[in-house]
Amino acid sequence: MLAYIVRRLLFLPVVLFGITALLFALISTLGPWTRVATFIPSPDAERHVDLEAIIRKYHLDDPPLKMYLRWVKNLFRGNLGWSQSSHMTVSEAIARRFPATLELTLFAVGPVIIGGIFLGVIAAVRHNKPLDHITRILAIILWSMPDFVLGLAVLMVGFGVLGWFPPGRLSAWAQLAVLKESFVAYTGMHTIDALLNRRFDLFWDALRHLVAPVFTLACLWWAFMLRVTRSSMLEVLNQDYVQTARAKGLTERMVIQKHVLRNALIPVTTVASNMLLGLLGGVVIVETVFNYPGLGLLTATAATRLDVPCVVGVALFYAVILVVVNLVVDVLYSLIDPRVRLE
């Protein structure tokens, strides 16, 4: 067990080195001004003042290896460069946008996991019965639905026709209210902050804006969770120990709950953690469709304006989350399922 964790931990720096080296190589192909912005977290890069002076000031003519080491050192200090599309340092931009994505993720995760597992279990228990076929067809149609097509459809109906679920994160009046000094931003997540400030009108407004993106995400991931849960359940249902449990005279409900579900959910946890990562990484498309100002929209806007430092900063931020969460999940996984450790 310990050996497994140590092996994974030892690999962590290798991965981070690989990612940073790759990005550094890509950045090195850029023109001087973009490079300045990538390495220097100040508006200097945007003002296009004296290039020579800046290069001298920040030692940007050093040999590549020295540059790389200094860049990595700066990354550890949270210095990710200057974002020209949002007119602030990249770390500041990420810090401002991340709570929005986190909020969206938190609201999406619960319904997706619970709903997906529930539907998958039903489909598997009724294997090859009408209900199984219906959920299966539904899942495959939803799974074939590109996120931007579904998102546009939801926006069209939810806002265009019904007028219930507007795009954006807050209405104009609510945005002003949030910026007032009497409103304390504890977490940056509007729903939670509104509750903590006892502003239920704000809470309601923030919630209304979350419904459409959460619904879109949920539809897409339900289909996926359903399929994984279903096939995993079917596999376990064929095992001998399930037969044994039935032969012992346990009720079907008992067999499903105690013997099948617990084993079937092991692969589902991996999928759930992947989903969490995907969502946290800024659901680029969904945030763009609904004009929801999170990490994803930040990345998309930065990319269309060729704001390299910002995109690279988000990529690094996300890569670190990805690596760390993956590590935690793998370790937890080996705790849940002893078979993993033996590989």
């Binding site: 991965v15 690989g18 459809a153 469709v289 990345t299 990319a303 390299v308 890569a319």
Partner: protein
Amino acid sequence: MAIMAILRRLVKNRVSLLGLILLAFFAVVALAAPWLAPPEAGHDPYRIPRRGWALEPTPPSAEYPLGLTQGQYDIYYGLVWGTRTAFRVGIIVITCRALIGIVLGAIAAYYGGLWDEVLMRFTDIFMSFPYLIGVVVFVAIFGPGLNNVMIPLIALGWMPYARMMRGNILAVKQEEYVLAARALGVSDFKIITRHILPNAVFPVLIQASMQIGSIVVSVSALSFLGLGAPEGYADWGQMLNFARNWMLGEQGNALKYWYTVVYPGLAMVLFVLAWNLIGDAFRDIMDPRLQA
């Protein structure tokens, strides 16, 4: 032989048959594009012709059966030639991914030891790179365009095939005919190309081809964000990007511009659905545990 047997089972299954029919339809449209939507003489056929200069979309008419989207781009023409773009992009990306994966996986598995360790760690590093964001980084650095979307999609997508290839070879390597060939002194190159590859490659290629649908979605998603195909290029994702500004219709008539999103959206969904229907049935065929 195996291919024919699998094809026969795919045709027998009603669900995958539907997928095959849909796919055949798209293939016919792609091949017959010059006749279905004849390009104007002297123009690049992949550029959607504009039937005017007004920004506001024009509803379907006898002359333009599916209507004109933002900027008066002909929706029908865009969909027909977009089918070609979809196939081309999907096939190029998948072929390159599979090739890289097959070569690296083959080297790792066949030589083993240090080679295996280094290549697999290399694979792990690429695996821990955020996929979509990686593509966006590349596009931000090298500029938008269809090629600049396809390159990172290949670079960040070969890993599963390398792993799968490695696993297959490790299994095949133990087969007696390979041991026999080695005992006879056949060269490494010949053993790999003649004995191991044919028996390990086939499943990888099948798996890879099932991903064409999702590749087309990824590329279209980037075009939708304005990072893929240049404006006016026949690409479904871009046509949906055009539709974005007209989604909400106008006061009292929210669905006024429905045709800008429904037709490209339908093409997209049906194309992906076709691949998924086949892929789903295929998984069941290949998985002996689900036979019972």
